[in-house]
């Protein structure tokens, strides 16, 4: 080795244990992992899985779109629970979605509607509950009487193209008119705005 260099080894090629370096590096790596772990768990929806006791509600949709398990369930934009499970009902060919709602939200009216929305323009889908006015509340195991399936981008584009645009003012009154493709506009978070 060139003169003037401090030797790290003891002359025989064995590295000296330089405690401060080793500890410093080790600590830095541990800190790095800890930061990663924090990011991964606390700032995403995995953290919200630990939401306390919940009760379960059922909702049947004819199309759940991209809804996944553990997707949030929101009322007025506030998370109140998550999707517990999604199953296909044989015979009826409906999707049976079980929602786990936090126990502290126990006064959801029993004529509440469940609709599948998209976060932002092209984000994950979630279940939005729109409360009704019934004085009775939903209990564990109840089924939601009003449901609205997910909007499919392809269907919307198809209708848009076929009907020649939203305000076609068509006189074709077979279908409830411009409503059909204009409907998505009344759903602010539907994928239509991104389509």
């Amino acid at each position: 080795m060139a003169p003037g260099f401090r030797r790290d080894d003891d002359g025989n090629g064995n590295m000296n244990a330089r405690p401060s370096y080793a500890i410093g590096t080790g600590l830095f790596i541990l800190l790095g992992f800890a930061a990663l772990a924090y990011l991964a768990t606390q700032t995403t929806s995995v953290a919200n899985v630990h939401q306390g006791n919940s009760y379960f509600l059922k909702a049947r949709f004819s199309n759940i779109g991209q809804l996944k398990e553990r997707a949030p369930v929101k009322i007025a934009g506030v998370r109140v629970g998550s999707v517990q499970s999604i199953q296909l009902e044989r015979g009826k060919m409906d999707a049976l979605v079980t929602l786990a709602i936090n126990d502290k939200y126990n006064d959801i009216p029993d004529d509440t509607a469940a609709a599948i929305f998209t976060s932002g323009l092209l984000g994950d889908q979630y279940v939005g509950l729109q409360p009704g006015g019934s004085p009775d509340s939903l209990k564990n195991g109840d089924e939601l009487v009003l449901t609205q399936s997910a909007m499919q981008l392809e269907d919307l584009i198809g209708k848009f193209l076929v009907n020649g645009g939203p305000k076609s003012g068509s006189s074709d009154s077979t279908q409830p008119p411009p409503k059909t493709e204009a409907k998505p506009e009344s759903k602010p978070q539907s994928a239509a705005s991104g389509g």
Binding site: A113, G133, S149, D155, T174
Partner: protein, 220 residues
């Protein structure tokens, strides 16, 4: 002790009679049968009378009232449409809303029904048990240009044991849910009384306005 026996006997007889009576009434139609019946009756009523009914819309409304109204739970559907505002409405307002809304809707869509042709609506079969709170009957409507429309009817069993529809889902869009959003936006703007008055005076036009106003990005 001996006095209890006649009482118990009377109570048992009352129970048995009470439970047996409905069973002896005519058998209740299933939702499938109801929808098929409506489709057939509508076809019969419209075939051959289309022009006449087109000229006399009020007659058409009468046809709708006779064939469709008995099988729709209009009051329940109106309550659903009112949503959370149902609590704020007085019973009298709820009744008025129900009537005005039904009238406006039938006037708005009556003409569309004229295109209903017998044989063009296929009621799809469904297996599985009927859920008293929510059972769906699926139908497919063949349009003139060969395309098909999926129309589903959502039924519930009322307290009297009849099945009545409370929601119509056309191409995946639940109309009650949709109207609930529009009515909610309107009530926030003009109040329940204002909305009811508008429905009562403007009828079908009010429904169109509801739709247009909900398309403006104002609210959300």
């Amino acid at each position: 002790m001996t006095r209890i026996i006649p009482f118990a006997f009377a109570a048992i007889v009352a129970f048995v009679v009470g439970f047996a009576a409905p069973a002896s009434a005519q058998s209740v139609q299933t939702p499938q049968q109801i929808v098929q019946g409506i489709v057939d009756q509508l076809g019969n009523a419209l075939d051959g009378h289309r022009e006449e009914l087109r000229q006399h819309p009020e007659q058409l409304i009468k046809v709708i009232d006779k064939i469709l109204l008995p099988h729709f739970d209009i009051d329940y559907a109106s309550l659903l449409v009112l949503g959370r505002h149902a609590r704020e409405a007085t019973p009298e307002q709820r009744v008025r809303f129900s009537r005005a809304f039904y009238n406006s809707i039938t006037h708005r869509y009556a003409e569309g029904l004229l295109n209903y042709t017998k044989g063009k609506v296929k009621v799809l079969s469904s297996e599985g048990d009927l859920n008293a709170k929510r059972s769906v009957v699926r139908t497919e409507v063949m349009l003139d240009d060969g395309k098909s429309l999926s129309v589903d009817y959502v039924f519930r069993k009322t307290s009297s044991g009849d099945w009545k529809a409370y929601d119509v889902v056309i191409e995946g869009i639940s109309y009650v849910t949709n109207y609930r959003n529009q009515v909610d936006a309107e009530i926030q703007k003009e109040g329940i009384e204002g909305l009811i008055k508008r429905l009562e005076t403007q009828g079908a036009a009010a429904i169109d306005q509801l739709q247009q106003q909900s398309q403006q990005p104002a609210g959300h």
